[in-house]
Subunit: 406 residues, 2 copies
């Protein structure tokens, strides 16, 4: 008998029939002798509808009130799911963030969980009552409603699993699990049965949209196995677990991210403090700089290139134009027709030649590499956006990630 | 400078434009030097949508979870209204039931307010912050969400006005105020400028749908003047106030209620305990019996006639059929083609001849009276449903309630 936290995303509770299906999944789990705690997202489309309402009132919505409005989506979902469970003869009780309570800091719309009170939940579990908890939301110590940012229900679920010392956190979604690459652009993409937290973190970072980053971090920190699986069938999906429990693969997956843009500051004087002058105003505007490349200095000048999310490009250029003048650089150029293609794998560090093979594969296909960035478990290349799908497919093939040929 | 509680109903916050209009009304009130506290309903149609969702999951929805789902409508509205106020440069802060808190009993879906904590609200008012409070909802002492029943936002507003000792509670709605009768069926219906709590209670009881009954009761109990007015213009509406502050009118209004049905138990033995045997199971089923008429006993037998809401008729007949057999009555007959037409006025008790005039007026128009019920301030007649509109018009005319002829 295990204690299982099951999280159902927006598409899994998207309509009345899907909500009834959730009740079936829970009933099956209970009938196998397990204890279950549910975490539920808003019905698909609901959060978007609520966000749109706030935008119609204020261009930049007041953050406290934004959270009040958007948190209501999960409230509807947990009530309906609790009813559906009762209709199947199960005992259930819905919980809003403030009722658990799930205490967060007061960074509205991107709050972080500070503490989860487990007393009421444990009492329910003991009595055979299934707690149905609103994902995505919490409450500050002052009683204000907060939300954790888009996709935050994953984080709620893993954090609740950690607080309850659950045996596993199951993330039910509309895909089968985590794939070696995006199946929409690569036919031979294969479902990964096991992946390490570290690899999953890199993948989430590099553009794979399966799981919320914080959720994986919390899972890693507390050692909670996360099982990403489909709510449409009973098959096993992908287990996200500790590295030592799995065979180390050289390369586990290929990811890509088209939400990328490149900025180059031309002929920057190569002296201390210049980089800080450039990047401080950017980070103060809340913009993440990803890769940074500085060419070898010639004649005391260098070109400085970095990437940002494409949606931030205009803002970055606007911020840097006066700075560029101030530091006496020649100018600023940008390119938003780029993409980042990456390979991820825990075995990479101990396998020399992986990087070379990646570069070679791209070269053989006449794909020029504009920037390179590496970590212990990933290698990323910035390329011309139009080659994205080709690059993904040839790398997937080169590292033999596909389904076994029949 | 007055402290004004302003309540905006569903149509007054029905879309983004209407919500912005609410902000204009509030701004105008503030600019006149008043302090304002808002109570807001869900956007028009939203509560119906949520109720429909619950009905799709459970025929009789679990009451605790029903409240969780339907209370979310007000949550969206208060966030949006608070944003709209901020957009106009006002200071505002939304409050859910649990945040005030508004403590209720635990009768889910029809909870009664037990206590309203005013500390936070008073602090806000002192700082010039406008509290925007969710109507319709509260929280039990155990932290469960409750709702007060349909139309409950009126009750929230008047109760908050009472707790804050406000000078007036303004109920903004989509009509101009309270009319002498339904303007849809009587052209000459006139807006009433002042009406007593007692008259308003009778009117609400007798089918006028302007205000929630409990709201008027609380207003009367705490002496809070209630001003029912339109959110679509700046004109004064109807003041609901203490009787001694107004001229006593003989008849103030004519009301009607078509949601009526009549049940007759034929040839009941006229002995003690029979009425209790009949009405106990009916009241235990939560069904309100309204008028009861017992004919003079002849030969130890009597016919017993009573009215119930039409929507309860089938249930009542089903409950009473076995009882009728048990007590040896001849049978049970029912009629759902009836209506109740009433005249209301605080001056009625001291003006003999009002009842006679009512009966005479109906007789002159060939409208047969089937049942009569009177109180200090109202007289009700049950008539054939098809004469409802005619009866309303001739009574309105007979008691000279209409607009002055030009």
């Amino acid at each position: 008998m295990a204690l299982i936290v099951q999280k159902f995303g927006g598409t899994s509770v998207g309509d009345i029939e899907r909500i009834k299906n959730v009740a079936n999944i829970v009933k099956k789990t209970v009938s196998r002798g397990h204890k279950v705690v549910l975490v539920v997202s808003a019905m698909a489309g609901e959060t978007n509808r609520l966000v749109a309402l706030t935008n119609q009132i204020q261009e930049i919505p007041d953050e406290r009130e934004y959270d009040v409005v958007v948190a209501s989506g999960e409230q509807v979902a947990i009530g309906l799911v609790a009813m559906a469970l009762k209709e199947k003869g199960l005992k259930a009780k819905s919980y809003l963030g403030f009722q658990v309570p799930i205490i967060t800091d007061n960074m509205h719309s991107r709050a972080k969980i500070k503490k989860i009170e487990t007393k009421k939940l444990k009492e329910d579990i003991k009595k055979g009552i299934i707690p149905v908890i609103a994902g995505f939301q919490g409450v500050t110590e002052d009683g204000d409603i907060t939300t954790l940012g888009r996709g935050g229900s994953d984080t709620s679920a893993v954090a609740i699993a950690a607080a309850l010392k659950a045996d596993v956190c199951e993330i039910y979604t509309d895909v089968e699990g985590v794939y070696t690459t995006d199946p929409r652009i690569c036919e031979s993409a294969r479902l990964i049965d096991k992946i390490s937290y570290e690899e999953m973190l890199e993948m989430a970072n590099l553009g794979a949209k399966v799981m919320h980053l914080r959720a994986v971090e919390i899972g890693m920190l507390y050692g909670i196995p996360i099982h990403v699986r489909s709510s449409f069938n009973d098959r096993e999906g992908t287990w996200i677990i500790k590295e030592e429990k799995m065979e180390k693969s050289e390369v586990t997956a290929v990811t890509y991210d088209k939400n990328q843009a490149k900025v180059t500051i031309l002929k920057v004087k190569d002296r201390p403090g210049i980089a800080a002058k450039l990047f401080k105003p950017v980070s103060e505007a809340g913009i993440n700089v990803d890769m940074i490349v500085q060419n070898v200095s010639t004649g005391g000048y260098t070109d400085l290139t970095f990437t940002v999310q494409r949606t931030d490009l205009k803002k970055v250029v606007k911020i840097l134009e006066p700075v560029v003048k101030e530091i006496g650089a020649e100018g600023i150029v940008s390119d938003d027709k780029i993409a980042k293609v990456s390979i991820v794998g825990v075995g990479m560090a101990s396998s020399p030649g992986i990087a070379a093979k990646m570069f070679e594969t791209l070269a053989q296909n006449a794909i020029n590499i504009q920037m390179i960035s590496t970590s212990e478990i990933k290698i990323s290349c910035v390329i011309d956006e139009k080659y994205t799908e080709l690059a993904v497919r040839v790398l997937h093939e080169a590292f033999d990630l596909g389904k076994k040929k029949k």
